[in-house]
Symmetry: C2
Subunit: 219 residues, 2 copies
């Protein structure tokens, strides 16, 4: 066996091993809000800028020190964390359980896909606004770097199944793959989903199947 053959064989084995172990760290997102620059000013005052509390796992994203109160027809939720930096459109991400508390029905949507989504009122220390759309329940998704996407054999927009082990084991369907050279490998689910699978901090899921190729991804 010559060196070239051995190299090819080793590459093949490494590739297969990587493709077999498609493990993804899971992060549960609590309710939060992304604000447009205009809405930052209307809720916190003219010229106000968000203050960083801590960095999030995806580059340039941070949890701000600021919080707001959500006000729905049936109830309020206080201390809802603002994420920064400010961006194009205001988007509020809550769980379906939060929807019951507020008395609204957030649709399951990919981030950025807020057209025709739910209305909600938002109260800050210096003002209150009502958005006609922008309240959603975020669809489960996996952020991954381009190199992960190659190693896992999946592409941006694919829908995959992710298996989570444990006494409350679950296989999640319709998990959207989002690929970017800026992303760090992480699966995002909400608190309802994390509790349903009794997911502990630092737990991993495993991509066990590709359900659909190349769906259109939100923003």
């Amino acid at each position: 066996m010559d060196k070239e053959k051995i190299r090819e064989l080793v590459e093949e084995i490494v590739k297969n091993t990587l493709q077999k172990a498609k493990h993804v760290p899971i992060a549960a997102s609590n309710r939060h809000i992304h604000l447009s620059p205009e809405h930052v000013e209307r809720l916190f005052g003219k010229g106000y800028e968000l203050n960083k509390l801590k960095d999030l796992s995806q580059p340039n994203q941070f949890a701000a020190k600021e919080t707001v109160t959500l006000i729905g027809p049936k109830g309020k939720i206080q201390s809802v964390r603002v994420l920064g930096p400010a961006r194009g459109s205001t988007q509020v991400e809550v769980s379906l359980y939060d929807g019951f508390t507020l008395g609204v029905k957030p649709p399951i949507r990919n981030s950025g896909d807020i057209s025709g989504s739910e209305s909600i009122s938002i109260q800050g220390p210096r003002g209150q606004i009502t958005i006609n759309e922008g309240l959603i329940c975020a669809a489960r998704h996996i952020h991954m770097h381009t190199s992960d996407s190659e190693a896992f054999g999946v592409s941006d927009g694919d829908l995959v199944q992710v298996k989570v082990d444990g006494s409350r084991g679950v296989i999640f369907s319709n998990v959207l793959i989002r690929v970017s050279p800026k992303y760090k490998l992480e699966m995002h689910i909400d608190l309802d989903e994390a509790n349903a699978a009794s997911i502990k901090n630092g737990q991993q899921g495993e991509i066990v199947a590709i359900e659909a190729k190349g769906q259109v991804s939100g923003g």
Copy 2:
């Protein structure tokens, strides 16, 4: 082909069809409490008996008009429904999300298996008690009649996988089968699980695999 052969063939086809379509109606259980006769008296007064609000799907079980307040180290939950009739030991069933609200960690347990489970305080109109154990998060399970068990090819104590379709599709693992001639076919999950799969009223799940045979079932 004689009549006997045709009969056998038809029976075989009917049996296979039934076994292929293992559909189960799903019911989401909100937090609730089962009280011992002694605790009914301590919370509601001497000689008190629970009043039926409405029948539940399982025979002789009912939602009572009475509610209690749960008090944990971090918070309270009001208007927790009492289920009747009163039974041996007091058992409180909450979601993991409720556990965060109360500041306790309910273990995932089958109904009746409360040994070493969480402590909680319970307030009624005439008194307050603290139970040392009895607070659990109910493990997902399927009640079924003996005839369902035969048609589905599963037995009491089996663990199965149940698939739920939809945009938030999920396959639930470790779903305990509980068989009795008194039971009506129904899968019970909690609100975290119902929201994680965005389950609508009247939606059905499908038993897609048997994971383990004959686990020991709780009471």
